[in-house]
Assembly symmetry: C2
Homo-oligomer: 409 residues x 2
């Protein structure tokens, strides 16, 4: 080494926006929640015991022995696009291979779309509470963030969006989670779906529809995703992470065909767009016909876990909390009594009862005290017996904190 | 569907920079070169027959049966970082796990670094001829691009960089391919390595060192990468794409430890940073001790192919071309006689002799006629007998074009 290692006085200049990158409150919470022995409802993880590992191993072995191109640079795997078209038909969406861009998961999909649509300093419409990974993407653009409320029963407040647009706002995009909202669990009402799509068309504002949970529905009433209602202004994000396995990093976009060439080049600049192996493994798994049965098993088991969590909440929080039963996704949003500070509650819960969740304040797009008494609970990751036990522990610690009001100790 | 599919009058507004995204000249060439039956020296592809497919299948099966977390969301796999530290020691680089960020390949690595370092409209220093994937990344930033020449024997012109810096330029980064330059094949001289690192330190300008080919060296003389000379201002990019398999999408960065948290968050916003499966498969392959023998086989075979291509060039282009023998990487840069238009030559070569390459003009950072008579040839992808045959075909067609001067027909 010509020069001695880092002296503390040496400073590399980073881009302006990057100076303010901080580890998020959510991430800090996550590191707390991931301590060994913690019973965690914090993360939106699938149930690992349901992963089809041996079928995946078969798919990988088959692909590596049959397909000489499986490890080579190569374009997105066309057979997988055809399989996605067929899957989407089941979801009520009519689309063509030429409208599909295969991504490295939903997060990459929304990142690519945001880079396509948003100018630095441009405007976006998001809910006050929404997926935190989308906030992270926005950071680099330092955009004007127009927030709208969400109704716990019917989803994003379409009237608020209409007001913004009528007053002249021209956001580059509206970000919506149609089913199994993260963190609220709510699915958008049919009426709102129709009105939202109409607005998007009227004002020529594209909707980014994040449908990561759309195939995880627990009731017989399936509402059409927004993309089923309009194909010009709804840019659809799908993912295999929640329905198959997040570790594979495969998802997809459905967008107007005219935008595919530009998105392909943005994707190419991101990572060369050559996940040859992962595409083929997922495709071989789908070709073997495993997905339908797997989805049925997932829905059955997650419905059981949801019901157990709801019942445990009813039992242990009869008067001190409110929640709604989600019909899709993996989260339940719980409002505890006013005055409970759930950031302090988390600290006590982890230390004294080894149970974790995400406090509402960590999920707000802009700093706000409005969600201080709320928590997000995940019901997909823990086995049923741990769900019961975890909610009982949570009740004990929140009762104690309720008595002490602010939970300092 | 509420609304009829796309009417041609409907226009979604995209971000300003995205309006000008066009399919690159390189990509157009690639689509020509990928027609069936074409003998192609166009792409920088590894030899697929050397991929360790069965060992990869073993690794995948082992990981999926032994490790319950192999398909789950999870942080970057620490054992892989330790293995990269050991590999880098062989490359002459002393680094620590805490300085490593695992990426989805070299392209993603340079994308993340650029987003960390470059403001929109900022300045960068690149060679007039360099890796086109880096141009693609720059597009979004609409930067001031300061270009410097490259000496075909000793690499990037360090004096030109020094002049720029002395006159007050303060680029956000200098992008350099130290060994096996793409497209020129050149490796930077030791003297220039030392001077370049000194400049970076003197002016506090970080160097992005793209070392995708560094472990593919064909001579006994190994020069230290820049990162071996300085750890504060050299941000190192490594990749398993060329030494193992591009289809896996695994690479790494080595940067000052203080920048890892910020880069992790940029990576998280890009794709959640949870390529659990790919990390574990590569790690299991490395743990089984396969890499060293594989690298030895790759170097031996690629050296053979390089020599066969050089000999074929000597035989078929005794007076009508100039080239230098690369000591690393997968490319040979060939200058044909002045007046040959290699874009037209490619057209004729593909149509009449079914042989392809990349014309020099497609690889220039800024539009320029300076490389119109140059071509980039890849020697790693074709089997030896096809290399001989392909160069003979290329000679036939270029002789014909030489006679007709501009190659129109």
């Amino acid at each position: 080494m010509l020069y001695q290692p880092t002296s503390p006085t040496i400073k590399v200049r980073v881009a302006n926006w990057a100076k303010n990158i901080k580890s998020s409150m959510l991430q800090e919470m996550l590191s707390v929640a991931s301590k060994p022995g913690i019973l965690s409802f914090a993360l939106g993880l699938p149930a690992p015991e349901l992963f089809p590992s041996s079928q995946m191993a078969q798919a990988a072995t088959q692909v590596l022995s049959d397909d000489a191109q499986a490890l080579q640079y190569g374009p997105p795997y066309r057979p997988l696009k055809a399989q996605i078209v067929a899957m989407m038909r089941q979801r009520g969406v009519d689309c063509r291979e030429e409208q599909i861009l295969i991504t490295g998961g939903a997060q990459q999909g929304m990142n690519l779309l945001t880079r396509l649509l948003l100018n630095p300093g441009g405007q976006v419409v998001v809910e006050k509470l929404t997926y935190t990974g989308f906030h992270q993407i926005l950071e680099q653009f330092q955009p004007g963030i127009l927030t709208v409320p969400t109704d716990y029963n019917s989803g994003i407040d379409v009237e608020s969006i209409e007001k913004l647009l009528r007053r002249g706002a021209r956001p580059a995009l509206i970000y919506v989670i149609t089913d199994g909202h993260n963190p609220l669990g709510v699915s958008l009402s049919l009426d709102k779906r129709i009105r939202l799509v109409k607005l998007a068309r009227q004002y020529c504002v594209p909707i980014i529809e994040d449908d990561a949970y759309g195939l995880l529905n627990y009731d017989n009433k399936h509402l059409p995703p927004l993309r089923a209602l309009d194909e010009d202004f709804v840019f659809y994000i799908g993912s295999f992470s929640k329905i198959l396995a997040p570790g594979l990093r495969v998802g997809w976009l459905i967008v107007p065909e005219s935008l595919i060439p530009r998105l392909s080049i943005i994707k190419e600049a991101t990572d060369i767009n050559t996940s040859t192996f992962a595409h083929r493994v997922v495709s071989a798994y789908l070709a073997a016909g495993h997905l339908e049965g797997h989805l049925t098993a997932l829905r059955r088991e997650y419905r059981v876990r949801r019901d157990i969590m709801i019942n445990a909440l009813r039992e242990h929080f009869p008067c001190s909390a409110r929640w709604h039963e989600p019909t899709s996704g993996v989260f339940i949003w719980v409002e505890l009594n006013e005055g409970v500070d759930t950031i302090m509650l988390l600290k006590t819960a982890v230390e004294e009862e080894q149970v974790a969740f995400i406090p509402g304040a960590a999920l707000s797009v802009t700093p706000s005290r409005r969600y201080d008494n709320c928590i997000r609970l995940n019901f997909s990751n823990c086995a049923p017996e741990f769900i019961k036990e975890g909610i009982a522990r949570l009740a004990r610690v929140s009762e104690k904190c309720g008595r002490n009001i602010s939970c300092h100790h």
